[in-house]
């Protein structure tokens, strides 16, 4: 069997969550289409970055890939093995090869376990390291790799700073010797100076261990920095995917363009020169996404034909994959952006009566 270039291949992946209403009759009144038909492939030893705004389905996609959320449909192949149909026992042994790192290291670590027992737990669960000494050795090497001192072993998570806790989270994933790491917002809870330490650590580990990463983040600059390929999600689907440099120098999809132009750059000269594409309004609710192109309610390039009623597929254009009917004419500059009126978006669970909670006694007293 020849090894495929891709470690992970995802085809038409869907994750829909039922929306339930009613206290007595628990009925399903609709679905949140958190992930709605995603195709992507991650080459071995490379980093795939997934960006998009809050609620677009990034975390759900990451979790579905690891089978932590059962997908509603589609395929996930890991190293040639189809995971969605794998029996539970086989899946368990595959799990060792795919690990996850979370955003908030504090909430993902058990506060009552010291570092040694956090790290030993996984080894025991997967039966790695025959005896105590063997396990000690593996753990020691892992600590070195993530830059934690040996005395960390007897300490508890709250005794560490945010950056060190994230190192513990990374060590917990690494100790099992995985090939794929799904990192969900690995640095967004950290201070800028600490962020850089963790980003560099992830880079170094990839170089030395040949790891494959799926990095999920809303910070485009971080993603650009560590990714080889970047996928941009909007309301449960990819709208554009391209090699990192290409995506940032030549974004094609209107949403990608708007997203890029909104990211502040720490350089006054750049900031003063840039043109911003200001999007009107908020992200529509994924429970009730717009018809046709999901971006058409906010798209400054939207056209009177097709956009509102035909969902664009991801198509190869140049070196990118883009889901837009008018990608070529937008890229060439033939179509110009226009102004879009704001449409109203509501948070999920709209319309219920407000609960009475403890409230400031005076309206507006906080301002």
């Amino acid at each position: 069997m020849t090894e495929s270039e891709f470690l992970v291949e995802v085809r038409d992946l869907k994750v829909h969550f039922p929306i339930r209403r009613g206290v007595i009759f628990d009925r399903t009144v609709g679905h949140v289409k958190a992930v709605d038909g995603v195709d992507l492939s991650i080459p071995r030893g490379k980093t795939y970055g997934l960006v998009g705004e809050s609620g677009c389905g990034k975390s759900t996609l990451g979790r579905a890939l690891l089978q932590l959320n059962p997908p509603t449909g589609g395929e996930v192949r890991f190293d040639g093995v189809e995971l969605t149909t794998l029996p539970a026992g086989k899946l368990r042994s595959m799990r060792r090869r795919m690990q996850m790192i979370f955003q908030d290291p504090m909430s993902s670590l058990d506060p009552r376990q010291n570092v040694e027992s956090i790290l030993t737990e996984g080894l025991q669960a997967h039966g790695i390291g025959g005896d105590r000494d063997e396990r000690r050795r593996i753990i020691g090497e892992t600590l070195d790799a993530v830059g934690l001192p040996r005395w960390a072993l007897s300490r508890y998570p709250h005794e560490f700073s945010g950056g060190q806790r994230q190192r513990i989270g990374i060590a917990r994933a690494l100790v099992l010797g995985p090939e794929l790491i799904v990192a969900d917002e690995p640095v967004s809870a950290l201070d800028v100076s600490i962020q850089a330490q963790v980003v560099n650590l992830l880079d170094e580990l990839q170089d030395s261990l040949g790891l494959t990463y799926l990095v999920i983040a809303h910070d485009l600059a971080v993603v650009r920095h560590i990714s080889d390929i970047v996928g941009v999600m909007y309301l449960g689907a990819l709208v554009e995917e391209a090699p990192s440099d290409r995506l940032y120098t030549e974004p094609i999809h209107p949403y990608t363009r708007a997203l890029m132009s909104a990211v502040p750059v720490p350089d006054p000269d750049v900031e003063d020169r840039r043109e911003r594409i200001l999007l009107a309004g908020d992200l529509p609710s994924p429970a009730n996404p717009p018809t046709g192109c999901r971006f058409h309610t906010r798209c400054p390039w939207a056209q009177p034909t097709r956009c509102a009623d035909e969902r664009p597929a991801l198509r190869q254009i140049g070196g990118s994959r883009v889901a837009c009917h008018f990608a070529e004419r937008i890229a060439s500059g033939e179509l110009r952006p226009h102004k879009v009126g704001v449409q109203l978006t509501r948070p999920l669970g709209e319309g219920e009566e407000p609960h009475t909670v403890s409230a400031p006694t005076e309206p507006g007293s906080y301002v």
């Binding site: 070195d144 830059g147 300490r155 005794e159 700073s161 945010g162 950056g163 190192r167 201070d191 800028v192 100076s193 962020q195 850089a196 330490q197 980003v199 560099n200 650590l201 880079d203 910070d219 485009l220 600059a221 971080v222 650009r224 920095h225 560590i226 990192s244 440099d245 940032y248 708007a258 890029m260 909104a262 990211v263 502040p264 750059v265 720490p266 350089d267 006054p268 750049v270 900031e271 003063d272 911003r276 200001l278 999007l279 009107a280 309004g281 908020d282 992200l283 704001v342 109203l344 509501r346 948070p347 709209e350 319309g351 407000p354 409230a359 005076e362 309206p363 507006g364 906080y366 301002v367």
Partner: protein
């Protein structure tokens, strides 16, 4: 005379059995009308406490001590009694927070909250107040404002809530607005909308804006003057361009080198600052940044470095600042290079404090 002059502001929290926290330790800055002044720094450096102290919104807990002055248009805000402070707050000075939900009353419709502000500070009532409220919501880009007035905060999205809060802040046409991380909880495309709104407010109404953020990109795009905070003190003050072009304080230099930039290539290694903000030296014993500083020299420890005033209003608190480009670096001081100097190994050595400086570490309560 500036519109707001904060002089030597200090805030300490003392608790029995615990170390006294010097959350703000002699902060001075000033803001003119129509000017945007940034307070930047990492978590815990005292940005929020500074703004809450100015507004008189710190929780009244035993052990809280506020010192110094915050002179707004001739009045020291810190000396006001609650009543006159409440009058000024809202009428002349307003504040918006990171989490709009916590500053909106959840059981009162948005409209009533806005008209209430109008009644209290501008004496408007009834239909006139309602009309003005709708106009304000419209101005901050809330669609269908007449209907929105009847809705409750939870019925609006995060971005719309932040707009509503800005509308309330704008309602009283404040001369000074303090914004504490107003966009940190929002997506970038929404952030861009809100920042644009704030810029408009400053441009059109001459409002003075204090912008608190940890995002150097936001600073680069918004602020006229920037104050960099570390460990409760301002360590560098400069106009926007000089700060980004030629940062002098090693902490500012370090921050700028650690931020990944959208316009930099894949694979360019970042230069993180070693250690974490918890590795603080108390200012009384020397430079608080010394445990993490690559330019540390012997003089840094012992007593706090004095504020150095440079030309065109720049100042920094450092005895061995980064040289200006084009000038000769000062002769390398012997023993000046702590292990942190070599950026290559920093990830490994990262959180290990270098050198002889005693740094409070894991003992602290988070």
């Amino acid at each position: 005379m500036a519109l707001l002059d904060v002089e030597d502001l200090s805030v300490t929290f003392a608790r029995r059995g615990q170390r006294t926290v010097h959350a703000v330790d002699g902060v001075s800055f000033s803001v003119d009308a129509g000017e945007v002044v940034g307070l930047v720094g990492e978590s815990g450096c005292g940005k929020s406490v500074t703004s809450l102290a100015i507004m008189g919104l710190l929780p009244k807990q035993p052990g809280l001590r506020v010192g110094g002055k915050a002179v707004f248009d001739g009045t020291d805000l810190l000396q006001l009694d609650d009543r006159s402070r409440r009058d000024i707050r809202g009428r002349d000075v307003a504040m918006i927070f990171q989490d709009p939900l916590s500053s909106l009353n959840p059981v009162i419709p948005i409209g009533l909250q806005v008209t209430e502000v109008l009644t209290r500070h501008r004496g408007m009532k009834g239909a006139a107040a309602e009309k003005e409220a709708a106009e304000l919501l419209d101005r901050v880009g809330i669609p269908d404002p007449k209907r929105r007035l009847k809705e409750y905060p939870h019925q609006l999205s995060g971005g719309m809530r932040q707009r509503a809060l800005i509308a309330m802040a704008v309602a009283c046409q404040p001369r000074l607005l303090i914004a504490d991380e107003p966009t940190t909880a929002l997506d970038v495309t929404i952030q861009a909308q809100i920042l644009e709104l704030l810029k408009e407010l400053v441009r059109d109404s001459g409002t003075a804006l204090v912008m608190i953020t940890h995002d150097l990109g936001v600073v680069a795009g918004m602020c006229d003057t920037v104050n960099v905070l570390y460990g409760g003190r301002v360590v560098e003050t400069a106009r926007r361009r000089p700060l980004f072009r030629e940062p002098r304080h090693p902490y500012t230099v370090g921050l700028l080198a650690s931020v990944p930039r959208l316009d930099a290539g894949r694979g360019e290694r970042l230069n993180p600052i070693p250690g974490s903000v918890r590795d603080l030296l108390p200012w009384a014993d020397g430079c608080a940044f010394a445990p993490r500083c690559a330019r540390r020299v012997d003089e840094c420890v012992g007593e706090p470095p004095a504020l150095v005033l440079a030309h065109d209003g720049r100042s920094y608190r450092c005895v061995n600042p980064a040289p200006l480009p084009g000038t000769l670096p000062p002769p390398a001081a012997a023993g000046a290079a702590p292990a942190a100097e070599a950026p290559a190994g920093t990830a490994k050595a990262a959180e290990a404090t270098a050198g002889p400086v005693p740094a409070p570490r894991e003992e602290e309560k988070p």
